[in-house]
């Protein structure tokens, strides 16, 4: 099975999970993030469910050191919490709090044909593009200084 087929199936299952858990319903997400009003704690259970399976998968991955198809596993190695992580995550949290949409549910909303979802995702892609350009500029700039 090629990595393309696996990724397609995984994305499909991931999206089904987002719909079933109602993570793809921005109003529900906002009523979870807004703890000051009448708080709907449901979405904490999404993380609980996902982590319960995720922990097993990551332990298996670490113990095996390779996939069941014999290919290598790319695990995140960084344990550093730097300024970029803090301010990036902070910005992400603010954006998530405004719309109630994070990247996965945004893509699912595009699939429902929602114009709201499309506007969010197009803006998100522009944001990611801006990051990439800034990174390239920074890389060029620092090498030309040396």
């Amino acid at each position: 099975m090629s990595i393309i087929v696996i990724a397609l199936i995984s994305g499909l299952i991931f999206g089904i999970g987002l719909i079933l858990s109602e993570m793809a319903n921005p109003a529900k997400v906002l009523s979870f993030l807004d703890m000051t009003g009448s708080w709907d704690p449901s979405l904490a259970f999404v993380m609980l469910g996902a982590i319960s399976i995720g922990v097993i998968a990551f332990n298996l991955a670490r113990r095996r050191g390779q996939t069941y198809l014999g290919t290598s596993i790319n695990l995140p190695t960084s344990r550093v919490i730097d300024r970029r992580l803090v301010f990036g995550s902070l910005a992400f949290g603010i954006g998530w709090g405004i719309a109630g949409i994070c990247p996965g549910p945004g893509l699912v909303l595009v699939g429902t044909g929602s114009l709201h979802g499309i506007v969010f995702v197009v803006a998100m892609l522009i944001g990611m593009g801006i990051f990439e350009l800034l990174e390239r500029y920074r890389a060029n700039h620092s090498t030309s200084n040396k």
Binding site: P26, A57, L75
Partner: protein, 111 residues
Amino acid sequence: MIIDWTHFTPGSALAGGMVIGIATAVLLLLAGRIAGISGIVGGLFKLRGDDMGWRIAFVSGLIMAPLVWQLFSELPLIQIDTGYGLLALAGLIVGVGTRYGSGCTSGHGVC
């Protein structure tokens, strides 16, 4: 703080979360990749030919999910009260923020 019991859905939330966990496990244990959405999408901008296919496939799967869902059942209620201007602003901040923070809900939460 008042708990909103009428909209409280721990069962479907837990089940949906476990389905997300299974998707993560499939990608990790068969493809050796992390199911962090912002990382998968953001990596497309590196324009590395040999690394694009699986990313596009995963994103396609996400977008196809509501279409496949509708083959079997009606979609649950989806309500968006935020205007287009604010949505665009939020999307922009989320796009830049997740790349600088190297992760969104999925990557930082589950992985």
